[in-house]
Structure formats: C-alpha cells, structure tokens
Symmetry: C2
Subunit: 346 residues, 2 copies
C-alpha cells in the first residue's frame, strides 16, 4: 500500500520523467549480449539472432487486476513481469527482454515506485531478462503497468496452441486453484482489517496459496525440462484465465475435442482444505479460477514414458476427434460439457 | 467523444474479451513475411531476419495525453500508432509490427472501440505495419492505450542519440509548434462549445495546425530520403517533448554543446498567425511545444550539399565542443542558455 505518511517521501515530479527513469533503472543488469541498447534512446536495439522472436504484452490495472490493500508494491512489480514471462514460456521459448511502462497518480511518492521497480528487478534477476525500455507517465487515477516481453526460440521448437491431435494426452504442470484460494484468504483478511485495524492476521497456515497469489512464478523450468526430456508438446498455453477456458482455446485452435478427468485435476492439500473451509466446490473452482501461471499442454502418446515419472506433470485427459465435443468426465463417470467458466450438465 | 445515446450501441462485455479482440482485429492485413504469427496465441512470433531490431513503447492516457472532448476516437487510434512509429524512424529504422493494449471503462460501447481500431488500422495500412498482438481489459476510469512498436534496420544504419560531433550541423524536418497551436485552438473551441452547445466552430483557417494536433504523421519518408541521398545522420531523436528538450538530450548523450539560431527555426505561416492571435512569443513556443513528431538530427558538414536543396530539411544550428555549452543565438545576436522548457537569459 502506498504510504504517504513516510517522512522520506519524495514527490514524483521532483526528479522529472527522465530523472525518474534513470533513478529507477540504474541498477538493472544486462544479461544478454543481443541487447545492444537498453533504456535511453528513442528505441531499444536488439542484435540479430538465428532464432525466431516471440512477443507478448499485458496490461495490469489497479482496481481491476490488483488491490494495493493486500498486494505489496514489490510483489506487484514481480508478478507483473511473471505474467508476461509465462506467455513466453507457453511458446516453449526463452524470455530475454522486457519493456515496462507505468502510469501513476500523484498519490504515489517516488519511494513507492522504487518498491515496484525493486520487484521488477528481482524478477529480471531471477529469470535473467533485460529491462530495455518503457514509458513513465502520470495517471488521473491509480497505478497501471504495461509490460511487453520478448523471447526467442529455434523455429522448430516453438509450440503453438493449434497443434494438438486426437489421442494426444492433455497434461498440466504443478497444481491449480492456489492463486484463487490465496485471493479468497486475502480478501477475507482485508475485510477483517477494515473492521478492526489492530487485527494481526496469522496467514501461516495459508502460506502456499497466499504466495501463489502474491508471488507467482513462471514455468521457465518446464521449458528446460522439455529440452532435457526430449519432449516437444504438440500444443501449449499458460493457465491465466482458468483451466476450462484454456482447454477450450486449445481445442478450438487445434480443431479437436477433449475428455478431461475430474479425478486427475491436481490440487494441493492446502488448496483442498481452504476450499472446504470456504465451502467451495473443488472442481468448479479448479476449472474456473485463474492466475495459476502453470502450463497446459498436449503431447503425443508415444512421449508418455518420458514425462510419466516427473512430479511436475499430471496427465489430466486426452484429446478426441472434434465431433466428440469437449467434456469433463466426473468421478461418478458422468460426462459434462465443458464451458468457459466450468461445466454444464446435459 | 463516446456516444452513449447511439441506438446501435453494444455493451463491451457482450462479446467477451476474446470475441472482442477477434472482432476488432479481423480486418487487419499482414504486410511483412517475417510476421509468422500475429494475434491469437500466447505470444506473436517473428521470423529471424539478418537485421537488428528496434523496440519502443508508449502509454497514452485519457485526461493526461488526450481529451475525447475534441479528439475523435478514430484520430486517437491513428495518433497512438504514429507516436510509436516516430520513435522507430528516429532510429533510422523501418517500422514493421505493433502490439496494441487498451483498457476501457464501461462508458465506452463496442462501437467506440471499433472507431478507435479503425484509426489504428488506417495507420497500419498507411505505414504498412502489422498488428501482432495486445491485451484488452476494463479500466476503472477512462481510456488508456499502450502500444509497442518493433522495427528493423541494418546494424550500420541505426542512428543513436549519442553520435553527434562538434561542428556537425543540427537539422530539423518540417516545421514546429503546429501541434501545440492546434491544441490551443481546439481548447478554445471546447470552451466556446461548453458555453454555447449550438456554436458551429469554423476551423478552416486553422486546418493545418488542427491536423498537426489531431492527425500527425511520422517521418517514414525521411528515413527513405536519407537512403536516397546517401546520408546517415550522426545522431537523431524525434521531437515529441519540444525542440529545446530534444536538443538537450542529443547534447547530453553525445557529450557536445550546441548553438541554435533563433532565426532558423522553421514555423509555418499559419502557426505564426495563430501565435500572434493568441499573443504568444514565437520562440518560447517553438522551443517548448511538443507533439510535432518531426525528426531532429545532426550530420557531418561534408554532407551539407546532399541535404541543402531539400525542402524537408532546415539547418537550425551546429554542434560545438561541450565546454562551450548549449545556447540559443537570438535574432539580435544575444547568446541565451538553452534549458528544457525554452531558454534562460544570463
């Protein structure tokens, strides 16, 4: 939360736009030798490579995508980068550079923006990406972050959404619904805090899911794993909008159907216990909750042996002929039509 | 201005995010064969080229950068693209692709966003750039546009801000202060309209400067001219924040000084007459007014013959040793120190 009662506050306009950019970006390292020119000219310059480039962009807006009531600015900076890197990894590519544009209202002192950039820098260092440019401006209301990420991969390694074939296995990394359940806990604590500002929430029993919400990671490791295992997914997408929505994208673009098995959907024990505490239906939340930034992909059946022993991967279904439709097979072996926000019974 | 009284209005949420993106982008053409994948996957994919890439990004915010009270949405879309392309041309590069992210409050119907995209498409077609991705989201207030532009050039052709040498000539394209004076006229008419909504402003005598504000162009032609004339500037920047501010950037990054001659600054007759009508001091406005999107560059003296006959170029000064400082030489031959917002007398 931006603190305006801090004695070391510096108004944003004190440094001017160019001074502020210099101040915010001075400690960033350049990791990639194809970054010829980063911040400081009309445009950044990247050297040619013998790979293809991937480019993705995301916009995060206060009051829509985040609430500074429980999202520390440093975490927000980190997460804003992760959201974009996740899209690069979903192409089976290596993330290399980002641009970061922010708009801030004058309620934010310079120190708050420095916190935000500390998180951006931590993500850049952790994932070895170069900050190469951006724009800094004032806003009439709130904080807004627009990031563009650039990556690269050999042409033959890039994985699109449209390559899934009938009989391919549907696989997900990690576990689902953690970020959403973390958000439920944080929203509840915020309400408690509003009623009693002296309350000291004990979030230790929710540590995993709160971290999934506040400090998610992107699956760079999985791109490396594919290489090590000699597996190239036939199609891939990252899970930002919820499992069922992403399955529908894969099916639509690959022109196939799908059977998803309810009993296979991976949920962490802390997610399950919190779902029970909040009296929420497991599968509905697992299908519709976003922001997990896991990868959802399909592989040919012949590759099953290569991934089956790896704890990062869970096979949750298989693709079918398009005419068979897109279904959830429940624990009681019922077949439900999958829709964007979950499922619909016949 | 978004019209909510139009009978054909469609609420933005009717199509959903993915439906809306499809609808908005379906008519865009792909001009460049290195655009392997545009809108529709986790990231866009560009094929490798044997050139260097340039990347630039800009954020435009309602109430800060534009006023929908006099900026039609189609013009806004066009201008948002131009602002970014101008930065690509300022690197002496060819613009190839853009991503466009928008955030809109629910006061905008789908038709308003279609208008915005009609302007974006017009710019893409006029400048032959490919729309390859973006993000569409809701905002809590107003309209916001974040564009990233990607271009390319041979390594040896890219022009940075830091290459100017003492004795190089300082040259500007086109003429200055038009966009700012167009804004003054539009602001005045807006006030008249607020007092009398039936007023019918006659802007015909301000046609040039109003167009400079509402529908600026980027100097793609100048990048072509440099090639034809066999000239490579030693340093270059686009004029978005005002002549004096840009001169200071060139001098700082090139580690040189500069003498700028007041009598050489190119002003259109319509700018001059409007400056007089508004009783504004010519040189102050010419130095401090932004949004002209002309190019400011330096060339070696030996190249003077190649550019001198061309009406696109005006030599306005020359670079000096850094120790000589950065000065405006007035019509009366006085030497004033140049500062970001204009000049300061000794």
């Amino acid at each position: 939360m931006p603190k305006n009662n801090n004695e070391s506050n510096t108004p944003l306009d004190k440094l001017g736009e160019f001074g502020l950019i210099k101040q915010l970006t001075k400690d960033f390292k350049i990791y990639h030798k194809n970054t010829v020119k980063g911040v400081g000219d009309d445009a950044a310059v990247l050297d040619k490579t013998n790979k293809q480039s991937v480019i993705t962009t995301d916009l995060l807006i206060e009051g829509v995508h985040f609430d500074l009531g429980y999202m520390p600015l440093k975490h927000l900076g980190y997460k804003s980068v992760i959201v974009n890197l996740s899209d690069v990894y979903a192409m089976n590519a290596a993330a290399k550079q980002i641009t970061v544009s922010i708009a801030v209202s004058n309620r934010f002192p310079t120190e708050a923006i420095e916190e935000l950039y500390a998180g951006i820098k931590l993500a850049c260092d952790t994932y070895q990406v170069d900050l190469i440019g951006g724009d800094t401006t004032s806003s009439t209301k709130g904080l807004l972050i627009s990031i563009t990420a650039i990556g690269e991969a050999n042409k033959e390694d890039i994985v699109y959404r449209n390559g899934a074939k009938s009989n391919d296995l549907l696989v997900v990394t990690g576990d689902l619904a953690g970020a959403y359940m973390g958000l439920q806990v944080l929203e509840r604590e915020k309400q408690v805090f509003q009623l009693d500002p002296n309350s000291q929430p004990d979030l230790s029993k929710y540590a995993y899911i709160v971290e999934r919400q506040l400090k998610p990671e992107a699956r760079k490791d999985v791109v490396g794993l594919f290489k090590d295992l000699g597996v190239k997914p036939t199609a891939m997408i990252d899970i930002s909008d919820g499992l069922s929505s992403e399955i529908l994208h894969l099916c639509e673009q690959s022109n196939v159907g799908c059977n998803l098995f309810e009993e296979k959907i991976p949920l962490d024990p802390q997610v399950i216990s919190t779902l029970e505490e909040f009296e929420l239906e497991h599968t509905t939340i697992a299908l519709s909750s976003g922001e997990d930034y896991e990868l959802l992909f399909t592989i040919a059946q012949k590759d099953y042996d290569k991934i089956q022993a790896n704890p990062n991967f869970t096979v949750i279904g298989h693709m079918t002929d398009k005419t068979e439709g897109i279904h959830l097979i429940t624990r009681s072996n019922q077949k439900m039509e999958l829709i964007a926000q979950g499922w619909r019974s016949f």
